[in-house]
Symmetry: C2
Subunit: 407 residues, 2 copies
């Protein structure tokens, strides 16, 4: 870390410096290797990993089937001026599996995908405004500033972006009443996962309202399924919640840690998609596409979604029980395959940071303020071991427990 700080801002660049920087010296900084659901830091410590590369790992690190598909494609060819045929196969696969998808456009990151979707919606409607949900994260481009401000983005970058409250159909109606003739699209995640904060599933009312109000005003609904994609429903998380978007963005788990993203859409917006100008040198790289095909086939073949659901349920139920036992008012929110843990009254996440550090010290990696991820490579024994770590960690948070656990 000392060497890193000399040549990299903060020593670790980007949001992945959290939680390392929250708890200097008490959390692993650099990863050496990974296998299945386990990672080893550069000091040789092994962890059961619930960060899962922030969701990009779904079928296990160094998954031999996925990685061999990428290697075989890379040996033939990866990135050229013209794309490889494997992208056509992957697009056909996605159109056959993702509910509503009639075409597919690849890029490299979730941020690329959400911005591409916004551009397509703008081209379709010939309007510029975007509605998103307060506290939602849609990437690191300037337009997202409207929902999630950050240093270095000019306030004006988000001039045309308006935030509404999650699950508030009235608020959505209000913004369309105010400026419906200027709104190109509503961008939402399939469920709300703000950082920090409790996760919230969509109400049936909100689901209905989004489709109804966008249709009434000729606007587009974009679902940003970058974080949740393939952890709720293999047809897309919109299918799980009954959302009916025009455009859907995937990345993260799409190719099991290989860098890839895509926007899929309906025929309604295909010509708009063909009208925009966009570009990325590595968007057509073939190896991650071969990895994605292998990854998406591996999931159902190995009943991966059911594994994640059942292990996630076990983890969440166990943590709730342990919270009660230790009188720690913890709450588990969001789907069990990507649960969020919060503690009532823990306003600045100080308790969650202590919890995460205590977990890391024992060998489980969890995040203090971001949802966790369960993968299809976790095993029942991993969950049991992690619940054992949580027993100790929660004891140290219990009234009077801190003194016991940290002499």
């Amino acid at each position: 870390m000392e060497r890193a700080r000399a040549v990299i801002p903060h020593g670790i660049w980007g949001h992945n410096r959290f939680p390392a920087s929250y708890t200097p010296g008490e959390y692993p900084y650099f990863t050496e290797r990974g296998e299945g659901a386990h990672v080893w830091d550069v000091d040789g410590n092994r962890y059961i990993d619930y960060l899962c590369a922030f969701g990009a790992m779904i079928n296990g690190y160094a998954n031999p089937v996925v990685d061999e598909a990428a290697r075989a494609q890379a040996a033939r060819g990866d990135c050229f001026a013209q794309p490889a045929a494997v992208g056509v196969e992957l697009a056909e696969y996605l159109c056959s599996k993702i509910l509503g998808a009639e075409w597919c456009a690849f890029s490299k990151s979730g941020s690329d995908a959400t911005w591409t979707a916004v551009m397509i919606a703008r081209a379709f409607t010939r309007r510029s405004d975007v509605v998103c949900v307060r506290g939602a994260f849609h990437g690191s481009h300037g337009w997202c500033n409207g929902c999630n401000p950050g240093e270095g983005r000019a306030r004006e970058d988000a001039h045309a972006v308006h935030a509404v409250e999650w699950n508030d159909a009235n608020d959505l109606e209000r913004i369309f009443q105010e400026r419906g003739d200027r709104i190109a699209c509503v961008v939402t995640t399939p469920f709300h996962h703000p950082i920090p904060g409790r996760a919230a599933l969509p109400s049936a009312d909100f689901v209905r309202a989004i489709r109804e109000v966008t249709d009434r005003h000729g606007a587009i609904h974009v679902v940003d399924d970058v974080r949740a994609g393939f952890r709720l429903d293999l047809r897309g998380s919109h299918a799980y919640f009954g959302l009916e978007p025009d455009l859907i963005c995937f990345s993260k788990a799409l190719a099991n840690t290989h860098p890839l993203a895509c926007v899929v859409g309906t025929d309604k917006v295909r010509r708009a998609a063909e009208s925009i100008f966009t570009s990325g040198t590595f968007w057509k790289s073939a190896a991650p596409m071969a990895a994605a095909l292998a990854n998406l086939e591996f999931l159902p073949e190995n009943d991966g979604l059911r594994t994640m659901m059942s292990l996630g349920q076990r983890l969440v139920d166990g943590l709730v029980r342990l919270g009660q036992r230790h009188s720690v008012p913890l709450e588990m929110t969001g789907p069990v395959t990507m649960p969020t843990m919060t503690i009532a009254g823990d306003v600045d996440q100080a308790q969650m940071r202590r919890f995460a550090v205590a977990m890391a010290e024992q060998g489980s990696l969890v995040h203090p303020s971001h949802n966790w991820f369960v993968s299809a490579a976790h095993r029942p024994a991993d969950i049991e071991q992690t619940l054992g770590h949580a027993d100790v960690a929660l004891a140290s948070l219990a009234p009077g427990g801190a003194a016991r656990a940290r002499p």
Copy 2:
């Protein structure tokens, strides 16, 4: 292509559909494999490639040294929540080689890098406006709209972006007189490579003016070396032209087709870099970083820059001679390692498209409206063969030649 059109907008997504879409059926659509400076399309045709994955290939496709470094790192681990140590080594390497670099921040694409640089400049200056050069391409984010408009970006995305003319020190002075107290940065490429159009090297006057006017007004100079990086000077193209930027963006050739980008900067802007929020799931992937280290070491070990310079000169000189022989008023502009070919009076590039198609038919891939790339994997025999192809292609463009060549 028929299958592709059913599931992908245009069948090929992004700008790489050009030149295929310019000349339907007369240009290869999909690449099967690559080796050295050669690519094979899915129909088995071999081409000498001067597209070089739009610059990402510099040491040859399927370079065994670079690809083995990536494979070895990927076998240990690629993308985790926390970065791998190889990123620290690569940052140290870049800081030791790139003129002026004192820190390094990684991301995935040239667009990521230029936007990161703009955010850092805004954080440093606490101002929002950006000055760039008319016709310059800095990626596909919304802010670039100011220099290079496109469908789907709201005009207002570029509200704070102002274009000046290349090599026009007076125009630069004018914009700073008008709103110098609001300008965060001047973003330029090391030389001007608009699409379409002739390339232009920077005048000594313009080089001096950029540094002088940004210093006088407390603004930052960002060099976007995404396209030219490592094809002019291994210390960065700014070193080649005498530019003295605060921030420099690299991608493309950095890791020889493996997806990686970075911003390097001086200590002056390090704290500003630490103050911005930005993030990307795949930005910390380790395999492309191992590839970059191997790639950047391979270049000088094999005298790659000298190879590119000497072969590029041979190509350019040969084309100029052939133009004279066939009375085609062609012009070769830009550095010889990334030459741009234009034909006087060819306003809509119709002649250049005919030239590119005639070249492809014989086995040389060149671009009708974008600069070409020479790589360190090209061989003298490739250049000679390509000049032979150009002899035939130019004959067909010569006065009365079209009838002869296309019965």
